[in-house]
C-alpha cells in the first residue's frame, strides 16, 4: 500500500522559506481560487464545497457543507474560524497559521462569500504568538491587495476579517466555549440544544464555526472542483488530511496524506513518513486521534486512516494526531498525564467532569507513585463509569460538552490493554520504569 501520489492540497508551499508572504503566495497561484469564486454565484461556491464532501478537520468531523446549509439567512451572521488548536499532540493548524496564513485568509473570504457574511473572526490560540503575527501581517497585506475588505477584486462583495487572540484555555476549542470567549467571557461551553451555533451563535446571531485546516482546503477545492477533491480518499473520508505524528517515532511531524488509502502502519513506519519506532524498538500502543480517543495496539496498525474505519474499530480520527508509545512506555504514567491535563482544563461547570477528573488524577498519581491499592483499578473504572455510564464508545454524555466523557478514554484503554502494568505498580509499590 504505502503512500499514494495524491496532490498536496494544503501543504503545497511549505518547501519555501517565505511561504507566509504575499509575494510567495501570489507567485504560487494564491488568491486565484477567490477570484474564481467571486465569478460564481455564492450558491455555486457552496455547492462545490458540498460536492467535495469536506469533513471538518477540527475533531468532530462534521461535513462542512452541511454545517453551512444550516445557517439561517439573517441580516447579521458571522463566520468564526477556530484556530484554538489545543488537543494534546495536535499541531497541524499551528503549522498552517505560521507557514501559510494567506491560504487561510483566502479560504475565509471564499467561505464568507458563499455564506453571505460580512464579518469574520479568526480566533487564534493565544500561545501562537508567531502564528498570530503571521496571520495579522497576511491580513494587513491582503487588505492592501484588495483581497479582503471593501469591494474585493472589484466584485462588489465586502467582508472584514478580524484576528482575535485567545489567552490559554483548552476548552475554548469547543465551539460554543469559543464563542463565549470571543464575547469577552470565561470560556464556558453553552448548554445544548441548540447543538449548533448556526441557530444561536455569536451575540445570539446565526454563526458558522469552521476549523483552520477545513477552510485552508477551500482555495484548492474552488480551483480544482469539489469532484476532484472527493475523488481522493474513499467513502465519507474524502480528500487529503493533515496527520500530526508524535511520540516515539524517528520523524515526528505533520504529514499530508490521502485519506483511507494509507494505514496507521504506513504513517508510523514508511521511511518518508514516520520512519519507524525510535531506536528500532517495538510498538506498545498508539493514540489514533488526540488524547480524547481510545488507544489502539499493534493489531490495529493496518486500519486505514479514514473517519468511519477508525470509528468502527472503537476509536476516532478526531483531531488527526497520532501518538506513538514504544515498549518502554509506562502506560500508567501516560494515562495519569493525560488525566492531569483534563483535570487542569475542565472548565468546572459540570460535576462529573470537575470532580471526576480530579479524583481520577489523584488515584493514578498514587498508583504511579507507589501508593496504589489493589482495588484502585476497580475504583478508577467506577469513577469513569460515573463520568460516562458504561464507559462505551462513543461515550455517553453526562455533561454540557464532550470534555468530561473524553476523560475515561485513556484510562479505560490502558487498563483494558495493560492491566498487568497497573498490578505490577501496586504489587511492587512503584513504577517499574523508574
Amino acid at each position: 500500500m504505502a503512500v499514494t501520489e495524491a496532490p498536496r492540497i494544503v501543504t503545497s508551499r511549505l518547501g519555501y522559506e517565505d511561504s507566509h508572504t504575499l509575494e510567495r503566495y501570489l507567485a504560487t497561484g494564491g488568491y486565484e481560487g477567490l477570484r474564481k469564486a467571486l465569478s460564481m454565484s455564492p450558491e455555486a461556491v457552496a455547492a462545490e464545497v458540498d460536492a467535495a464532501s469536506l469533513l471538518g478537520r477540527g475533531g468532530a468531523g462534521f461535513p462542512a457543507g452541511r454545517k453551512w446549509a444550516m445557517l439561517r439567512k439573517a441580516p447579521t451572521t458571522y463566520l468564526v474560524v477556530n484556530g484554538d488548536e489545543s488537543e494534546p499532540a495536535t499541531f497541524k493548524d499551528h503549522m498552517l497559521l505560521e507557514r501559510d496564513p494567506h491560504q487561510l485568509v483566502e479560504g475565509v473570504v471564499i467561505a464568507a462569500y458563499a455564506l453571505g457574511v460580512s464579518r469574520a473572526f479568526i480566533y487564534v490560540r493565544g500561545e501562537f504568538a508567531l502564528g498570530m503575527e503571521r496571520v495579522q501581517q497576511a491580513l494587513n497585506d491582503a487588505y492592501a491587495h484588495g483581497a479582503v475588505g471593501q469591494d474585493i477584486f472589484g466584485s462588489g462583495f465586502s467582508v472584514d476579517v478580524v484576528v482575535h487572540p485567545g489567552a490559554g484555555a483548552y476548552i475554548c476549542g469547543e465551539e460554543t466555549a469559543l464563542i463565549e470567549s470571543l464575547e469577552g467571557k470565561r470560556g464556558f461551553p453553552r448548554i445544548k440544544p441548540p447543538y449548533f451555533p448556526a441557530a444561536i451563535g455569536l451575540y445570539g446571531e446565526p454563526t458558522v464555526v469552521n476549523n483552520v485546516e477545513t477552510l485552508s482546503n477551500l482555495p484548492w477545492i474552488i480551483l480544482n472542483t469539489g469532484a476532484a477533491f472527493s475523488a481522493l480518499g474513499e467513502g465519507r473520508s474524502t480528500g487529503t488530511r493533515l496527520f500530526a505524528l508524535a511520540g516515539h517515532v524517528r520523524n515526528p511531524g505533520v504529514h499530508e496524506i490521502e485519506m483511507v488509502k494509507t494505514t496507521f502502519r504506513d504513517l508510523i513506519y514508511a521511511p518518508v513518513l514516520g520512519g519507524g519506532i525510535l531506536g528500532g524498538r517495538e510498538l506498545k500502543a498508539f493514540i489514533p486521534g488526540g488524547v480524547s480517543a481510545p488507544w489502539f495496539g499493534p493489531e490495529q496498525l493496518d486500519l486505514p486512516l479514514g473517519q468511519d474505519e477508525v470509528g468502527a474499530a472503537g476509536s476516532m480520527l478526531g483531531s488527526g494526531s497520532v501518538v506513538v508509545m514504544d515498549e518502554s512506555t509506562c502506560v500508567v504514567r501516560a494515562a495519569w498525564r493525560i488525566t492531569k491535563f483534563f483535570w487542569r482544563e475542565s472548565c468546572g461547570q459540570c460535576t462529573p467532569c470537575r470532580e471526576g477528573s480530579g479524583w481520577l488524577e489523584k488515584i493514578l498519581r498514587r498508583i504511579e507513585g507507589g501508593e496504589g491499592r489493589e482495588d484502585d483499578i476497580e475504583l478508577l473504572m467506577d469513577v469513569c463509569d460515573n463520568i460516562s455510564p458504561g464507559v462505551s464508545w462513543p461515550p455517553q454524555q453526562t455533561t454540557i460538552c464532550v470534555l468530561g466523557p473524553s476523560i475515561p478514554s485513556s484510562i479505560a484503554s490502558a487498563i483494558r490493554m495493560f492491566r498487568d502494568d497497573f498490578l505490577v505498580h501496586v504489587k511492587e509499590g512503584g513504577c517499574p520504569h523508574g
Binding site: L130, A246, P252, V323
Partner: protein, 185 residues
C-alpha cells in the same frame, strides 16, 4: 478617566474595541495590551479596562482569571513554559522540567529572586514535532536538551535573544493596519 495605560496603548485599545459589534469582546485583547505595558495584569490596568468597556473591574478579573496567559500576579521578564503533556513526556520532558528547576533554583510556578525567570509547567503547546518543547514568552524552542536549556537561559540573561523574545506580555508585534471597511453591521 483612565489613568494607568499609556496614551499609545489607549489609542490601540480604542481601535481594538471598534473592531467588535460588542465592546466586551475586546476584553481579552485589552488584557494582552495591558500585559504588554506592565508584563502582567495589574489592578490599575483592570480598572482602566473596565472603564473602557463600561463594565466593572470584577467582571474583567472574573473573565481574566479563567485564562492561563493572563497573569494577575507579577511574573518574571521571561516566562519559561515547559510542556510535560504526553508527546513531550514521551520525549523526556519530565527530566527537562526537573533540570530547569535545578538550574534556576526555583520550582514550577515560581519566579527567580532577580525577577528574570518564571517557570511554568505547561499543557500541550502544539509543537510536538519538536518535543520536548518550551515556550519563552510564547516563542517556541524545540528539541530541547538539558544542555540546550542552560544555553537558552544564558542567552536570555545576556540579551542575545532580545529581538526574538520580547519581554513577557508582548504577544503580537504586528498591529492591524486598517479599520473596518465592509460596513453592514
Amino acid at each position: 478617566m483612565t489613568r494607568h495605560l499609556s496614551a499609545e496603548l489607549l489609542a490601540a485599545a480604542k481601535e481594538l474595541i471598534a473592531l467588535y459589534p460588542n465592546p466586551r469582546s475586546a476584553l481579552v485583547p485589552l488584557c494582552h495590551l495591558a500585559q504588554e505595558q506592565d508584563g502582567w495584569l495589574t489592578p490599575d490596568a483592570i480598572e482602566d479596562i473596565a472603564e473602557l468597556l463600561d463594565i466593572t473591574p470584577a467582571e474583567v478579573l472574573g473573565t481574566a482569571s479563567f485564562y492561563d496567559m493572563l497573569h494577575t500576579e507579577e511574573v518574571g521578564r521571561y516566562v519559561i513554559a515547559i510542556c510535560t503533556n504526553i508527546a513531550c513526556m514521551l520525549r523526556g520532558a519530565d527530566d527537562l522540567l526537573a533540570h530547569a528547576e535545578d538550574h534556576l533554583g526555583i520550582r514550577a510556578g515560581a519566579t527567580t529572586p532577580d525577577g528574570m525567570f518564571t517557570i511554568e509547567e505547561a499543557e500541550c503547546l502544539a509543537d510536538c514535532g519538536r518535543a520536548p518543547c518550551v515556550q519563552v514568552n510564547h516563542r517556541f524552542f524545540g528539541n530541547l536538551t538539558p544542555e540546550g536549556f542552560d544555553q537558552l537561559a544564558a542567552d536570555l540573561r545576556s540579551g542575545a535573544l532580545e529581538s526574538e523574545v520580547p519581554p513577557h506580555g508582548t504577544l503580537c508585534r504586528v498591529r492591524r493596519s486598517v479599520g473596518l471597511e465592509a460596513g453592514g453591521h
